[in-house]
């Protein structure tokens, strides 16, 4: 259990960083990106051990991920986007897109509808999670004092 936990952690961490590089995130933010991506994935993975729904797991996972990116945005003084774009990738339903296409090609209509609907639901769940966390107003803090002056 611990071993597979570590394995998931490292894979998500490096997977996210690789994508960060592809979107040209400056190297000094790599670690933060990786932590955000790994956190999101680990919560997703944990949820999947507890219950079978990928939609629920995605929704639960995207919330700590987005909170973390907002924390990084303040502490590291960079836009949220910088962490959220690479960080969201482990949760994006790439598998759903593939299996939907696969079911369509093999003529399995039941699977096609099932997978297609699930993919869409995951996308909506991610969107809802991001939307909820991003709309919570930021707490005033000393770190933001200089921006407030404007």
């Amino acid at each position: 259990m611990l071993l597979s936990f570590l394995q998931q952690l490292l894979l998500a961490f490096f997977g996210t960083i690789s994508f960060g590089l592809l979107f040209h995130v400056p190297p000094r933010h790599f670690a933060a990106c990786g932590i955000a991506g790994a956190a999101g994935w680990l919560v997703y993975w944990g949820m999947m051990q507890l219950q079978p729904s990928a939609v629920v797991a995605s929704l639960v996972a995207v919330i700590p991920l987005t909170i973390l990116t907002r924390v990084f945005a303040v502490t590291r003084r960079a836009p949220v986007t910088l962490f959220l774009i690479p960080g969201i990738f482990p949760l994006v339903p790439g598998a759903g897109i593939y299996y939907t296409a696969y079911a369509f090609i093999t003529g399995d209509s039941a699977q096609f509808v099932l997978k297609g609907a699930e993919t869409l639901k995951i996308a909506v769940a991610l969107a809802m999670g991001i939307a909820v966390v991003m709309s919570v107003p930021m707490l005033p803090s000393n770190l933001r004092a200089d921006r407030k002056k404007q």
């Binding site: 394995q7 998931q8 894979l11 998500a12 490096f14 997977g15 960083i17 690789s18 994508f19 960060g20 590089l21 592809l22 979107f23 040209h24 995130v25 400056p26 933010h29 994935w41 003084r77 960079a78 836009p79 986007t81 910088l82 959220l84 774009i85 969201i88 990738f89 482990p90 994006v92 339903p93 790439g94 598998a95 897109i97 593939y98 299996y99 939907t100 296409a101 696969y102 369509f104 090609i105 093999t106 993919t119 996308a123 991610l126 969107a127 991001i130 939307a131 991003m134 709309s135 200089d146 921006r147 002056k149 404007q150």
Partner: protein
């Protein structure tokens, strides 16, 4: 050129850099307004869309105004961060217009990560995702190769200047085809995991995320543009993979 015109030029340029490189609409608009105000223009009005910038200075006759079309290009998040930092320093009064223009010029020329690094990152990322989604290590190796191949393929495709959707379609087809070919060697355990891992780079995660962020900031038009972008991209990927799988399926004796 008077001062107001120069401020407008600078602010528009900064907005263009932000928008092109993956900033959301509200941030672009906000940054432009803050910059203009800090540089001494009080009556700046800007309107930002996913692919266009509109701005004017004041309502009097003869005041400068500008429109810019901002076509999609490769995303460079480092530039977004740099402009963000630039605007913060301008707002603090640490930078004048002259210096700010120079710095913006540097930001515009910030290098992309070297191609070799991109290829390696593409491979590593694909392998990590293939393993995360439950592939065996052999599938990870195949995803690594296909992911690197995909980056080379996309860099090569760049020369032809095809539109984004076609590029994603062909990229997805490439991933499926390359994985199928590598699996002919018999080392792969679950070809679907390798395909999914290598596909992740094409998946519209960024468009989806930007769409949500635009929509919750009530930039409905821009959010809708991004949403359509995300949906069409997903559809193109599915078609690209589907086409190859469908063709492979036609070959007698080959099971997916």
């Amino acid at each position: 050129m008077n001062d107001q015109q120069r401020v407008l030029d600078f602010v528009m340029e900064a907005g263009e850099v932000l928008l092109k490189n993956g900033a959301e609409v509200s941030r672009t608009q906000q940054t432009m307004e803050i910059m203009a105000k800090s540089l001494g223009v009080d009556s700046f009005h800007g309107y930002v869309l996913t692919n266009g910038l509109f701005a004017s200075m004041g309502a009097d006759y003869g005041q400068p105004a500008q429109i810019r079309s901002v076509p999609a290009s490769e995303v460079h998040l480092g530039r977004v961060e740099a402009v963000n930092d630039l605007s913060r320093r301008i707002a603090q009064g640490k930078l004048g217009l002259e210096q700010a223009c120079q710095e913006l010029e540097q930001i515009k020329n910030m290098a992309y990560a070297p191609k070799v690094q991109q290829i390696l990152a593409g491979g590593l990322g694909s392998a990590c995702f293939a393993l995360l989604f439950g592939g065996a290590w052999q599938d990870g190796v195949i995803a690594l190769l296909v992911g690197m191949g995909l980056q080379v393929f996309l860099q090569w495709m760049n020369r032809w200047g095809l539109n984004k959707l076609i590029t994603k379609f062909l990229g997805a087809a490439f991933v499926a085809l390359a994985t199928m070919l590598l699996n002919l060697t018999g080392i792969g355990v679950q070809p679907d995991k390798s395909i999914i891992g290598a596909l992740m780079y094409l998946v519209p995660g960024m468009a989806m995320m930007l769409s949500v962020r635009d929509l919750i900031m009530a930039d409905f038009l821009s959010g809708t543009i991004r949403l359509l972008d995300a949906l069409l991209t997903a559809l193109c990927i599915a078609c690209g993979v589907g086409l190859v799988l469908g063709l492979v399926n036609l070959i007698p004796g080959v099971m997916l």
